[in-house]
């Protein structure tokens, strides 16, 4: 088994350092928000993790189309990696959002468009994983997975739009935005963009690791098949 390539090892270290730097920046450099206080600091990582989730979502949809065109199983492993990372990061984003929402909106959960869409997207991912679990043939698993990713990639934006309309027709009880960035301090903005950058690097690192894991899993499957024959 080949060891990790040099670039990946470098990324590991870089990710850890950057994450530490971002955390320090959030707590020391970014000013404390006047109204919400300390809890607002969760916002930086919340936006960054949601961004990574979004990135994974888009990558997965694009890769699904590439897979159906090329039929190269390599793309299936990449798509699965993107979905899994997106699943985890959206979960983290929802979790962090909840922590922020409790003091800010007075509730852990609200049927806000972004929040609801994120929750439904998680359901799409879980369904995707269950679908894969029910299929043994790797080629068919890849095909069905790709088709389902495309369906999810198209329906989730529509879900967002429909919940949005739902919300604009009916008056909203609790403030929708919260993250309206109109009047944010420059230092806050810098921290936010730095966090987004850091988490993008972490995304690349994890993505790479997950793809390697997928390749090994495939290798093991092949070996098992050879043994059984």
């Amino acid at each position: 088994m080949p060891s990790q390539p040099r670039a990946l090892q470098l990324l590991n270290i870089l990710s850890a350092l950057l994450l530490a730097a971002a955390a320090i920046m959030v707590f020391t450099y970014a000013p404390t928000e006047k109204v919400m206080g300390e809890v607002q600091k969760v916002f930086y990582f919340h936006v960054a993790t949601a961004w990574v989730g979004m990135l994974g979502f888009i990558v997965a949809a694009v890769v699904a189309i590439i897979y159906l065109r090329t039929k190269d199983l390599k793309w299936d492993a990449i798509g699965l990696a993107a979905v899994e990372i997106s699943l985890v990061f959206f979960f983290v984003a929802i979790f962090l959002g909840s922590i922020w929402a409790r003091p800010a909106w007075g509730t852990w959960w609200t049927w806000e468009p972004r929040l609801t869409t994120a929750a439904i997207l998680e359901m799409v991912y879980l369904a995707y994983l269950l679908l894969r679990q029910g299929l043994e043939d790797p080629e068919r698993r890849a095909r069905f997975g790709a088709v389902y990713t495309i369906l999810g990639g198209l329906s989730v934006p529509l879900t967002f739009i429909s919940i949005r309309i739902f919300r604009t027709i009916h008056p909203v009880i609790i403030g929708t935005g919260g993250s309206e960035k109109m009047n944010m301090e420059p230092a806050m903005l810098t921290t936010m963009f730095f966090s987004i950058f850091v988490f993008s690097i972490i995304f690349v690192t994890l993505f790479w690791h997950r793809i390697r894991l997928g390749q090994y899993a495939e290798k093991i499957e092949h070996l098992k098949l050879k043994l059984s024959q």
């Binding site: 439904i120 799409v124 269950l130 069905f144 088709v147 495309i150 198209l154 739009i161 027709i169």
Partner: protein, 233 residues
């Protein structure tokens, strides 16, 4: 219908689609196992709604649209599962795939018959609900929304049912796969239906109708494009 054996492709495509749909309808006319199951199930759901939500006159108006669509959605998965399971179990799907027609014609045929089953159920459930809850559901707008919603639901449902019957978990998997991607249809259909039932302004209903139409166009087109990948061996 066709003047010559080597007639242009569109009409043979249409004929193949109608043949698949007709096959399902004819089989159903003889056995009636699918429709009767869907109907009994729908009636049970309506009854359970009464006990679960204590639908008094006041609550009824607000909840009717939601209750109806939950009923349709659940009964719909029942029908979709059954309709694809029949094909898979008796090896009919392989036979269909061997036919020298474009495979998407098979998809449209199955989707058409599934839509027909769903509409039949709805045509029976709507008056039944009207009688049981003493509420007038005969509203052209509501019927149009029901048709639009059912088209979107079966368009995606047929595609996903074709996938789920080929998995190990089968019947269990279909609702799990279907519901998260069909949410725009359910949201829009419920909102538009309740808009018509409460006599809301047409400007409030139009966005929902638009969503339904957009969803239908997108997903019928996508299903048309990807169905080949779902039945490929």
């Amino acid at each position: 219908m066709n003047p010559t054996p080597d007639s242009p492709r569109p009409s043979s495509y249409l004929r193949a689609t109608l043949a698949v749909a007709w096959k399902d309808l004819a089989a159903e006319l003889r056995s009636r196992e699918l429709l009767s199951a869907m109907l009994v199930f729908s009636t049970l759901v309506i009854l359970i709604f009464y006990f679960a939500l204590e639908l008094d006159v006041k609550a009824r108006n607000g909840i009717t649209a939601g209750a109806l669509w939950v009923t349709f959605a659940f009964a719909g998965t029942l029908g979709l599962n059954r309709s694809m399971a029949i094909e898979k179990d008796r090896g009919c799907l392989d036979g269909l795939l061997l036919a020298p027609v474009d495979r998407s014609a098979i998809y449209f045929g199955k989707a058409l018959s599934n839509l027909a089953f769903m509409l039949i159920v709805e045509i029976i459930v709507l008056p039944l609900y009207s009688v049981m809850y003493n509420i007038n559901l005969f509203n052209p707008g509501l019927l149009a929304v029901t048709l639009l919603g059912s088209i979107g639901y079966t368009a995606v449902g047929t595609l996903l049912a074709t996938m789920s019957v080929q998995t190990r978990t089968r019947d269990v998997l279909l609702p799990i796969l279907l519901f998260p991607v069909v949410i725009p249809v359910l949201v829009a259909a419920v909102k538009a239906s309740s808009g018509y039932l409460t006599g809301a302004d047409i400007n409030e209903i139009t966005p929902w109708i638009n969503i339904l139409i957009v969803y239908n166009i997108i997903f019928i087109a996508v299903a048309f494009m990807v169905f080949d990948f779902v039945v490929e061996e």
